[in-house]
């Protein structure tokens, strides 16, 4: 199954483009870091606010920056997909890659719980100086740990993949 996906990805024009243009790879890597900062700037600051720091900042205002975070996420989804299309053998057999995807999924689930369980409506009503909600503190701490994990799995992937066939 994986090998047919791999063969299909290697035949795409995106793969050809990435392999024929070494600078495209370097630019996508830079953009992957830019996207990371756009995504996690608003996320980390909202989490820190929910944990009880920076109380003079209304959470509702920070929440207005979510479109920038989404833009950063989309940028990383696109550049990340380009890496996978170009060298699927480095990712699709690699447990560290799936751990990173799992952590991204869990971070997404954390956002869904935050909105679905009514915690968002509680915290967004917090004004300057208001103490945070206990359940929101837990979700914020979980969010910070999950994103730290995403960065760690991504950054350490080349070093933890020594035994993976096809990984550099």
């Amino acid at each position: 199954m994986i090998s047919s996906v791999e063969a299909w990805l290697q035949g795409t024009s995106v793969a050809a483009f990435m392999i024929q243009n070494p600078w495209a790879w370097a630019i996508c890597e830079s953009l992957h870091f830019v996207g990371l900062c756009c995504l996690l700037g608003p996320v980390v600051l909202m989490d820190v606010r929910m944990l009880g720091a920076a109380r003079s900042v209304p959470l509702s205002a920070l929440h207005g920056l979510v479109p920038f975070a989404v833009a950063g996420f989309v940028l990383n989804l696109v550049t990340g997909a380009m890496f996978i299309a170009a060298t699927p053998e480095q990712y699709l057999h690699n447990p560290v890659f799936y751990l990173k995807m799992l952590f991204i999924g869990l971070a997404g689930a954390n956002v869904l719980v935050f909105h679905g369980a009514g915690i968002f409506s509680q915290v967004v009503a917090l004004g300057p100086g208001d103490a945070p909600v206990a359940r929101a503190k837990v979700l914020a701490a979980v969010s910070l740990l999950l994103w730290l994990g995403v960065i760690a799995w991504g950054r350490l992937m080349p070093f933890l993949s020594a035994g993976v066939e096809g990984a550099s």
Binding site: L36, C37, L40, V44, A54, L65, L156
Partner: protein, 166 residues
């Protein structure tokens, strides 16, 4: 140059380069990425606020995030120094490294400029940031973009310098 060759021959540099431990070179790189996220992530939010986004937050309140900015800067100056020590000889002849350093110096300059213009004497609640601060906010984001790109390019430029071609 002698000094930089001596630097990359020190036992600290050898440990960073040669240790198979994930706590040597990989952990330093990871720290550099976490610091980048804190430093530039926080800066981008402050810059966006000055440009008029998240207007519900008083500009003066963004000061509360300066701690995250400093934490990111400390992480990256220290991890960055270790990364430079490890490969001092090749880093100092890498033009991408000097572009990165110049961009960082100018970006920090925009931070101090912004701090002087809007955080010493913040505009009244609801008032927009002065045009000079908005200009510095745009420059700040552009300079961090250059710093990140030049940093990423260092490996490619080093390879090109060693083997020729890209």
């Amino acid at each position: 140059m002698e000094f930089f060759y001596w630097l990359e021959a020190t036992s600290l540099a050898t440990w960073i380069n040669a240790s198979p431990s994930v706590f040597a070179f990989p952990a330093i790189l990871l720290t550099h990425t976490v610091g980048l996220t804190l430093l530039v992530g926080t800066t981008v939010v402050i810059d966006l606020r000055l440009l008029g986004f998240a207007a519900g937050a008083p500009i003066a309140s963004m000061r509360e995030f300066f701690g995250l900015f400093w934490a990111g800067l400390v992480l990256n100056v220290s991890s960055g120094l270790l990364l430079v020590i490890a490969r001092a000889g090749s880093v100092v002849v890498n033009p991408a490294f000097w572009v990165k350093l110049a961009a960082i110096a100018l970006a920090l300059g925009t931070f101090f400029g912004i701090r002087r213009i809007v955080f010493r004497d913040p505009p009244p609640a609801g008032a927009p940031a002065p045009a000079s601060a908005r200009g510095l906010a745009i420059a700040s984001m552009a300079l961090w973009l250059v710093a990140i790109t030049a940093g990423r390019m260092m490996a490619y430029v080093e390879e090109a310098l060693m083997y020729g071609g890209f």
